[in-house]
C-alpha cells in the first residue's frame, strides 16, 4: 500500500470520530435493551396473558384442519396445522402497541421530557418492543412444545437455512409493522385519539395478513392484489417460509423493503411537522 502521510492522517481522523460514535450508540442500545428487558420481566404474568391473547391463529387452525378433512382447499390438514402454528409464532414476534404509548405521551405531555434527551424517542419505543420479544420467547416456546405434544403428526423441523432466513424475514416484518404503526402514531400530534386510526387499519391487517387463512385459499385475483399491499408480509410470508410453502423470495423482499422505505419517509415527514405542532399539553 502506498499512501502519503496526510492521507493516513485523514483516515485516522475519520476513524477516530466514527469509532467513538459507534461505541456510544452501541452502549446506548445495550443500556436501553437491558433496562427494558428488566422492566418487561417484572410483569411475567401479564406477558403470559398477552401471549395467550394471540389465540386467533389457533382457533382458525381448528376450523381449517376440520375443513381440509372433507373439502378441497389444496392444502392438507397437517399443512394447515403447521401454517397456523407458524402464523402464531410470526404474530408473537410482530405484535406492536406503540401507538397507545405514543398517544398517551402526547396527551399527557410526557413527550417533552423525552425530547430533552439527545436521542430520538423512537429508540425508546423500539427498544422496549425488542426487549419484550426476548422476554416473551420462553412462553411462546413453551406453547410450541405443548402444541407438538398434543398434535405430534404436525411435527416438523425446518432446515437451518430456512430458520436463518426466517429470522431475517421476521426482523424485517417486525420493523415494517413497527414503522407502520409509528407513522400512524404521528397523527396524535393533531388528533386526540390516533389509536382509532390504528383500530381501523388493524382490520386490514387482520383479514389480509394471512392470520385468518393462508393466501393459498384466497381467490386468485384477490391474492394478486393483496400481495402488493404490506399486510401479507407481516404474517403470511414469514409463516409460509417457515413451513416450506412456495413463496417468491425476491419479490417478497423487494415489496417489504419498498413499503418500509415509504413508511419511514412518511414518518420522518410527519414527525418534523408534528414537532412544530406539539404544545406540550399538561407539562
Amino acid at each position: 500500500m502506498t499512501m502519503n502521510k496526510s492521507q493516513v492522517k485523514g483516515e485516522k481522523h475519520v476513524l477516530s470520530s466514527i469509532l467513538p460514535a459507534f461505541q456510544r450508540n452501541l452502549r446506548i442500545a445495550g443500556t436501553l435493551l437491558s433496562v427494558y428487558y428488566a422492566y418487561m420481566v417484572e410483569y411475567r404474568a401479564e406477558l403470559l396473558l398477552w401471549v395467550l391473547s394471540g389465540s386467533l391463529p389457533i382457533i382458525l387452525m381448528g376450523l381449517w384442519v376440520e375443513a381440509a378433512r372433507s373439502g378441497q382447499f389444496g392444502l392438507t390438514s397437517v399443512d394447515f396445522a403447521r401454517y397456523f402454528l407458524a402464523a402464531f409464532i410470526a404474530r408473537q414476534f410482530t405484535v406492536v402497541w406503540v401507538i397507545w404509548e405514543f398517544e398517551r405521551e402526547i396527551v399527557e405531555g410526557r413527550l417533552s421530557f423525552r425530547l430533552l434527551q439527545p436521542l430520538n424517542p423512537i429508540w425508546h419505543h423500539f427498544a422496549s418492543h425488542a426487549a419484550e420479544r426476548l422476554a416473551r420467547l420462553p412462553f411462546a416456546f413453551g406453547l410450541i412444545v405443548l402444541f407438538f405434544l398434543l398434535y405430534p403428526q404436525a411435527f416438523w423441523l425446518p432446515s437451518p437455512t430456512t430458520l436463518a432466513l426466517f429470522m431475517v424475514v421476521i426482523i424485517l416484518a417486525f420493523a415494517l409493522r413497527f414503522l407502520m404503526q409509528y407513522t400512524l402514531a404521528m397523527f396524535a400530534f393533531w388528533i386526540e385519539r390516533a389509536s382509532a386510526l390504528e383500530q381501523f387499519w388493524f382490520l386490514f391487517y387482520l383479514f389480509l395478513s394471512g392470520l385468518v387463512a393462508p393466501l393459498e385459499v384466497f381467490p386468485p385475483l384477490v391474492r394478486e392484489i393483496v400481495l402488493w399491499t404490506p399486510f401479507p408480509y407481516l404474517i403470511y410470508f414469514p409463516a409460509s417460509l417457515l413451513v416450506g410453502l412456495p413463496v417468491n423470495l425476491g419479490k417478497s423482499l423487494l415489496v417489504i423493503v419498498i413499503w418500509t422505505v415509504l413508511f419511514f419517509l412518511a414518518y420522518r415527514w410527519l414527525w418534523r411537522r408534528g414537532l412544530r405542532q406539539y404544545s406540550g399539553m399538561g407539562a
Binding site: 401479564e46 391473547s53 376450523l63 373439502g71 383479514f207 385459499v217
Partner: protein, 260 residues
C-alpha cells in the same frame, strides 16, 4: 328497585351526552364495524367458496351465527368493555373507595356506570345480517322472538365471566389483559360449533362456553333449537351470575385500598 332504575337512566343519559361530544369518533366506529363485518364475511366466504359447507349449515345459516356474533360484539363494546375494563383502574388508583362508600350495590355501580355508543353500529349491522339471512331462509317471527331468550342468557354468561375476570384484579393489579384473553377466545363464536374438531368443541362448550353465546341462539332463530341446550344456557347464566356476585363479595374482603 325503582331507585336503581332511576340511577340507571341518569348514568346512561349523562354517558351518551358526554360521548356525543366526540361525533367524529362515532363515525370512525361505524366505519370500523362496517369494515369488520366485510372482513368477517370474507373470512366465512373462504370456507364456502369450493362447495365445502360446515356440516348442517348452509351459507345463510352460517350468516345467522355471524349476525349473532356481531350483535354480541356490539353488546359487549356498548355495555361491558367501557365499564368492566375500568374496574382495574379503580383498584390501581384507589378510587374504588368512593364507589364502595356510595349507598348502592357496588357491583351494580361498576357494571352500569357508563355506556359507549361506539358499539351501536355493531348492534345494527348484526341485526341487518340476521334479518337478511332470515329473509333468504323464510324464518318465522316466532323464532326471532324465541331467540331473545338464549340471546339474553348468552349476554348474562358473557357479562358474568367478564366481571369475574375483572374482579381478579383485586389480587393481581396489573392483570387487565386477562379480559383480552377472553376476548381472543370469544372470536371462536364467529363460526358454528360443528365447524371445529371435537377437542375444540369440548373446550368451547365446557371450559369457555362460547357455544352458548352464538351457536345456541342461532339454532333457535333457525327454528331447530333444542330445549336442552337453551335450558343449559339458562342454568349456566344464572349460576354464573350468582357466582360473579359471590366472587365480588369474596374479593372485596381482600381489598386494601391503594392510596388512602
Amino acid at each position: 328497585m325503582g331507585r336503581y332504575w332511576q340511577v340507571l337512566t341518569l348514568f346512561w343519559t349523562t354517558a351518551i351526552a358526554a360521548e356525543l361530544e366526540y361525533r367524529v369518533n362515532f363515525l370512525l366506529a361505524a366505519l370500523s364495524s362496517l369494515g369488520g363485518l366485510a372482513g368477517s364475511l370474507f373470512g366465512l366466504f373462504l370456507f364456502y367458496q369450493n362447495d365445502y359447507t360446515f356440516a348442517g349449515w348452509s351459507w345463510e345459516q352460517a350468516l345467522v351465527v355471524l349476525g349473532v356474533f356481531t350483535l354480541l360484539q356490539g353488546f359487549s363494546s356498548t355495555f361491558l368493555a367501557p365499564n368492566l375494563n375500568r374496574i382495574v383502574r379503580h383498584i390501581q388508583q384507589g378510587t374504588l373507595d368512593f364507589v364502595l362508600l356510595k349507598p348502592i350495590n357496588s357491583q351494580f355501580w361498576l357494571s352500569t356506570h357508563t355506556l359507549s355508543p361506539w358499539g351501536f353500529p355493531d348492534l345494527v349491522f348484526g341485526l341487518i345480517v340476521i334479518f337478511y339471512a332470515g329473509m333468504r331462509l323464510g324464518l318465522h317471527a316466532r323464532d326471532y322472538l324465541l331467540s331473545l331468550v338464549p340471546i339474553l342468557f348468552g349476554s348474562l354468561i358473557l357479562y358474568s365471566l367478564w366481571f369475574i375476570l375483572g374482579a381478579t384484579s383485586i389480587w393481581f393489579v396489573k392483570i387487565y389483559n386477562v379480559t383480552e384473553v377472553l376476548r381472543g377466545l370469544l372470536e371462536a363464536g364467529r363460526f358454528p360449533m360443528v365447524a371445529y374438531p371435537t377437542a375444540y368443541r369440548f373446550f368451547f362448550t365446557f371450559v369457555v362456553p362460547v357455544a352458548f353465546l352464538t351457536t345456541v341462539p342461532a339454532e333457535v332463530i333457525l327454528g331447530r333449537g333444542e330445549m336442552g341446550w337453551t335450558l343449559g344456557a339458562g342454568g349456566l347464566a344464572i349460576a354464573l351470575l350468582f357466582a360473579s356476585r359471590a366472587f365480588w363479595q369474596f374479593a372485596l374482603r381482600f381489598y386494601t385500598s391503594a392510596s388512602s
